[in-house]
Symmetry: C3
Subunit: 229 residues, 3 copies
C-alpha cells in the first residue's frame, strides 16, 4: 500500500510555554516499511494569527493530502480526524449527525463537510482513492505529525534569523536535531517502531538551539532557537 | 509468588493489514524477577476460521492456564479479563450482573461463566489456586501476550514454508527477531521494565523475514515471512 | 520560569506486592532545561500507619512546596492535583462545587480547601506566587514523583539496615540504582525526554538490592533491599 497522510503541528510558545498558534501542515507519502516519508510537502500557517477552532487546519490537511496523492499516485489518504474511519466522501449531513462524537465536533464537521465532502467525492470518482478519517490509529498520520514538527523547526530557524529568538512547542513526544545539512526528527515513543523524518537545510552557524521538556505539558518537547549575532 | 498467566494474540493480516483471526493462545509460568517465562505452552487456533466473539479464546486461556499451573505447582493464575480482579470461581450469575462492565461483556460472561466457573471452583477446591480476572494490570499477562506473539511467529515460519508467504500482526508494541536457533520477542515499551521471551527453533535459511510498523494500527508491528524457493 | 512542585510516592509492599502505605512526599525546585531538580526536600510518612484517603498527602505536598518556594524564590508552584489548573487560592466552596470532578473528590477538596485555600491566599498576597492544580500534565510534578521514589529508596536502605528486609513499590515507570555514593532515579518513559534525579548517600555494602517489575502492577517497578548480616 502507498499511503498519503497529513497533519498539523508545531506551535509558537509564549514565555510561559503556552501555545499561541500552529505553524505547519505537512503531507507525507509513505511506502513499506512505513517508518519515514519518501516525499513530503508543507503549508505554513501564521502562528501569530491562528484559527483556533481547527477548521482551517483540517481544510488545509485535506487539500494538501489530495495534492500530494495526485503527484505520487497513492492508493489511499489518511486524515488526522477520528470519525469512525469513514471515507470523507460519505460524510453527508445525516451521517455526521449519527456519529458518536461531541456536539462541538458535529457542528465543526457539519460546516466543514459541506465544503470538503464534494471535493473528496470528486477526487474519489476521478481516482478511486479514498480519504479515510482514521486519525491517530494511523502510523502514517503520526509520520505526518513528525514532519509537521520538522517543518516547524525549519520555520523556526528562518524566524530566529530575522527576529533573533523563538520558542517552538513540537508535536507530542518527538525530538528534533538541527545538523549542518539537515533537520532530523524522531519519535520518542519506541512503541511506534522507530518513526523518523529528515529534511535538508543549510544551517546557519550563527544560531544556537536547545531542546528540552515543556514544563507545563509533559511528554512535549520545546525547541528554542536564538541568534548569536 | 509463582504465577501462571495466559493470553491470546498474533493475527494473520490481509493485504490491507486488517486481522483475519488470531493465531496462538499461550500460557506462561513466571517466577521472580518476573521478566520472562521459565516455561510456556501453546494452543494454536485456526486464524482462517476464527470465533471473533472472543468466547473460544477465553475458554482456551482458562484451560491452558490450569494445565500449566498443575504442572508447575503455581500459586495463582492471572487471566487476561478485567472483571475487577475477582476470582473466576466467584463469577456466578448475580456477581456477573452486578459488575460494572458493558452489557455485551455481561452476556458473554453469563454464558462463559456457566461453563468456566465450576471448573475454577473445582480447581480451587483441589489446589487452593485462585484464577484472578486481573487483566492488563498484570505483568504476567503481558509476558503471556509476548509469548503469544513469539508462538505466532513460529506458526508463521511453518505456514510460509508450506504456502510461501504470510503477514502476521504481532500483539501490541512488541518485536520479534528470528535467529538461526531461536525466536526472540521483546516488549517495545521500556515502561514495562524489560519483558521478553525466547523460543528454540531451527530456522530454515530459505525464508526471508521483515519487521515493520502496521500502517493502520499505530504501535503494532507486522512480521512478514516469505519463502525464497 | 523557576518552578517548585511536590508529589507523594513510593509504597511499602506486602508479600503479594500490594501497597500498605506511602513513604515520601518530595518537593523539588526546577529550572530550565527542566529535566532534574536543583534542590529537593522530603517529608517522610509512616507507611505502616497511613491515611489512605490522600488528605494528609495533599496537605503535606502544599506545605512542603510553599517551604521550598520560599527558600528558592520560585515563580510558581505546581501541585499534583488536577482541578482544571486553577490556583489553589481560588478554591472556595462555590468554585469546588462547580468543578467537573468526582463527588468523592469534591468532598475531599471541600474539607481540604477550608484549610489550604487561606494558606495559599496568604502566600500569594505576600509573594505573588500561584499554587496551580495542574496535576500530571506538569513535567515538574513528574520530577517530584521521581524524587519521591528516590527518597523512598533512601528510606528503604535505612529500614533494611534496621529490620533486615523491605520491598518498596516505586512510583510509576521509574527505576532506581543504588550506587556507593548516590541513588540515581530515572524515568522509564522516553516520551518524557530524559527526566532523572540524584541523591547523595553512603551505601552500606552489607545490603543487597534488586529491581524488577511488579507482577500485579504493570509498568511499576519493585525495589527489594535485604541485609546480608
Amino acid at each position: 500500500m502507498k499511503i498519503v497522510a497529513s497533519d498539523t503541528g508545531g506551535a509558537v510558545l509564549d514565555e510561559e510555554y503556552n501555545p499561541l498558534g500552529l505553524i505547519a501542515t505537512a503531507a507525507v507519502y509513505v511506502e513499506k516499511p512505513y517508518i519515514t516519508a519518501k516525499k513530503s510537502i508543507v503549508k505554513y500557517g501564521d502562528p501569530f494569527d491562528y484559527d483556533l477552532s481547527g477548521r482551517k487546519a483540517i481544510k488545509d490537511e485535506v487539500l494538501l493530502a489530495i495534492q500530494l496523492a495526485r503527484e505520487t499516485k497513492a492508493d489511499v489518504i489518511h486524515l488526522d480526524s477520528t470519525l469512525g474511519g469513514l471515507p470523507l466522501r460519505q460524510l453527508d449531513k445525516p451521517t455526521i449527525e449519527a456519529l458518536r462524537i461531541s456536539e462541538r465536533g458535529k457542528r465543526i464537521w457539519l460546516e466543514l463537510g459541506k465544503e470538503l465532502q464534494p471535493i473528496a467525492k470528486k477526487f474519489w470518482e476521478e481516482t478511486g482513492v479514498e480519504i479515510l478519517t482514521i486519525g491517530k490509529e494511523s502510523t502514517i498520520v503520526r509520520i505526518a505529525e513528525i514532519f509537521a514538527g520538522i517543518y516547524s523547526a525549519k520555520w523556526g530557524i528562518e524566524y530566529a534569523m530575522k527576529k533573533g529568538h523563538v520558542r517552538i512547542g513540537l508535536p507530542r513526544y518527538m525530538e528534533v536535531k538541527i545538523l549542518s545539512d539537515k533537520i532530523l526528527g524522531k519519535s520518542l515513543d519506541p512503541k511506534e517502531g522507530g518513526l523518523y523524518g529528515e529534511l535538508p537545510i543549510n544551517f546557519d552557524e550563527k544560531l544556537n538551539w536547545e531542546l528540552y521538556p515543556n514544563p507545563v505539558a509533559r511528554t512535549f518537547m520545546v525547541l528554542e532557537i536564538t541568534s548569536r549575532r
